[in-house]
């Protein structure tokens, strides 16, 4: 493309709107992070910096509840992300390396179904399903639901990555008498690693973050961090909630950042 003068491309005010956009996106998170270090008992007054609300999360009256919820959240996120990444990797191999086939479009539609159906509808449907088959709601129902809706989030980066890898690598390996399984595990998998890692991380975050579906299928007594936080927030925002929120949002940001840099690294060149 010929170089076009910046004066023609640029619009006055667009830069300010972009900066405004960033302020709106980050201000609430920054403010909550700052107030999580507030020494005051009230969330309105500022009384200096302190870590007391972080200590409260781990030792305070609600700490037992948060500990159990955190255990549930993290174990579910790890298992669901692992399972959905494995399932998505197999599906991506069939979709990207399986030639043309009739059910391609249907398969793609099925994989992206959790993205198209509104979350609250998936939540209602899953609740009804477990009720109809007489499955008691609890840890297992949350886990199964999470594995299902994490699949598209794991699938998208993995298939995008695989599309960028030419099949000549595997063909060369197989010409040199590697079995197809070896070509997959020794050639294709290492090349796909960045896609698989970022798929896993995205699935992990999505599972860790989910509130609506979890809230419907969790049953009585089983809580994850988002449902525990929601229950607590219903009675008003408390300082310890801001501390726990700050910890969770830091985890998400760190994982997304890792995912970003991993997927940027290109080892096929």
């Amino acid at each position: 493309m010929a170089h076009v003068n910046d004066n023609i491309k640029a619009y006055k005010g667009f830069r300010s709107i972009t900066l405004l956009c960033l302020v709106v996106l980050y201000a609430p998170l920054v403010i909550v992070t700052i107030y999580s270090f507030n020494a005051s008992q009230s969330i309105t007054n500022w009384e200096g910096i302190s870590l007391r609300w972080y200590a409260d999360v781990f030792t305070g009256p609600e700490s037992e509840k948060f500990k159990v919820a955190a255990f549930n959240s993290f174990t579910i996120a790890i298992i669901a992300a692992t399972a959905s990444t494995a399932i998505a990797t197999l599906a991506a191999t069939a979709m990207v390396r399986g030639g043309n086939f009739k059910l391609r479009t249907v398969s793609f539609g099925l994989i992206s179904l959790p993205l198209m159906v509104p979350e609250i509808v998936t939540a209602v449907a899953t609740l009804i399903f477990f009720n109809a088959i007489g499955f008691t709601r609890g840890y297992m129902t949350i886990l199964v639901a999470h594995i299902a809706f994490c699949i598209p989030f794991a699938y998208l980066p993995i298939s995008a990555r695989m599309q960028g890898i030419e099949d000549s690598f595997e063909q060369a390996a197989m010409d040199l008498y590697a079995t197809r399984r070896q070509a997959f595990t020794r050639i294709l998998m290492p090349l796909m690693a960045p896609g698989i890692i970022s798929g896993f991380l995205l699935a992990f975050i999505v599972s860790l973050d989910d509130f609506i579906i979890t809230n419907f299928v969790k049953g009585a007594g089983v809580e994850t961090l988002p449902t525990a936080i929601f229950g607590s927030v219903k009675q008003g925002i408390k300082p310890n909630i801001m501390a726990i929120s700050t910890m969770l949002l830091s985890i998400s940001i760190v994982m997304v950042t890792i995912s970003y840099f991993v997927s940027k690294s290109d080892n096929t060149k």
Binding site: I120, Q163, A183
Partner: protein
């Protein structure tokens, strides 16, 4: 996808052609049993009779849909009139989602355009900055928004401190707060497709327009916008659809007066007061609306692809 096939030039790779059945089996099984199956089950439940303490009685009935659309009086023996309660909740959801979409477009379009006109090596950094907040827990983001906007919150403190206002502005528990919350929830869905479209746009067209004495705003309206329209339409749908069925933003920022579909559905499955068939019917109506919008957009997209290729 058509573009990918065309640029690749060769046939689709088929190293794993004969194994694809086995490779697809796990995803078909999990998504078929735990997503598609449940949606079908929900359709059935919407035609069953309600059990008073939650759950259903297996007797076919149209009561759920009837209750949604018609008012037959307290004892159910009066001639049916249109029931406006639930229709107006749906209407409010559409309206709120529409307002949030418009807000996202007004802020998101200039942002996407600005990012797409940055030097090529810094664009990913901008995109990354816009998407980070999306990955932070939606509940935490909504709670943070509420904390910021409260009457005694930092925003009002700041505005009063600078002398711009004398008394706090009430934002929480208004329609506007919900729109702001939805905007905050789904903004990246607007920015990303618009950005992708503007990035592909050939700026020589803007130059040609400028050479022919078009003003900058005329160029934007008559040349740029039509060219990036598919991206804008995709962005609007990606914001509108999840906004319509959202639960957290209306629940936490809107209060009881700003009830949306999400809360109506949620209420049917909480505690003992719920009506499962009615909740299933409301979910079916929401799902149908969403599928119509998605089908419409898929057709638009196909048309645009045809015109483009």
């Amino acid at each position: 996808m058509a573009a990918g096939a065309a640029s690749g030039g060769s046939a689709r790779a088929d190293t794993y052609k004969d194994a694809r059945g086995w490779l697809l089996l796990p995803s078909w099984a999990v998504l078929g049993i735990f997503v598609l199956g449940p949606v079908c089950m929900m359709l059935i439940y919407s035609f069953l009779t309600k059990e008073f303490r939650g759950g259903v009685i297996w007797e076919p009935s149209l009561a759920a849909y009837d209750q949604f659309f018609f008012d037959r009086g307290l004892f159910g023996d009066e001639p049916p009139k249109i029931e406006w309660t639930y229709i107006s909740i749906f209407w409010r959801s559409i309206w709120q989602a529409g307002a949030a979409t418009l807000l996202s477009l007004l802020i998101g379009f200039p942002t996407a355009y600005f990012i797409a006109t940055r030097p090529e090596n810094v664009r990913p950094v901008w995109v990354f900055l816009i998407t980070i907040p999306y990955w932070v827990n939606l509940l935490i983001r909504t709670v943070s928004m509420k904390f910021l906007l409260r009457d005694q919150g930092p925003l009002n403190d700041f505005l009063i401190g600078t002398g711009l206002i004398d008394s706090p502005i009430h934002i929480v528990n208004t329609n506007f707060a919900v729109q702001l919350g939805l905007f905050y929830s789904y903004l990246p869905f607007m920015v990303l497709p618009v950005y992708a479209a503007v990035e592909r746009y050939n700026f020589s067209l803007s130059e040609a327009a400028a050479d022919l004495y078009a003003s900058k705003w005329t160029t934007l309206r008559r040349i740029v916008l039509p060219a990036v329209k598919p991206g804008v339409v995709a962005g609007c749908i990606l914001v509108f659809v999840p906004s319509m069925g959202s639960f957290l933003a209306p629940d936490l920022l809107g209060g009881a007066k700003n009830f949306m579909i999400g809360s109506l559905i949620e209420e049917q499955f909480k505690g003992n007061a719920g009506n499962w068939p009615f909740g299933a019917a409301a979910s079916m109506i929401l799902l149908t609306m969403v599928l119509i919008i998605l089908m419409f957009s898929a057709r638009q997209q196909a048309k645009a692809d045809k015109a483009g290729g």
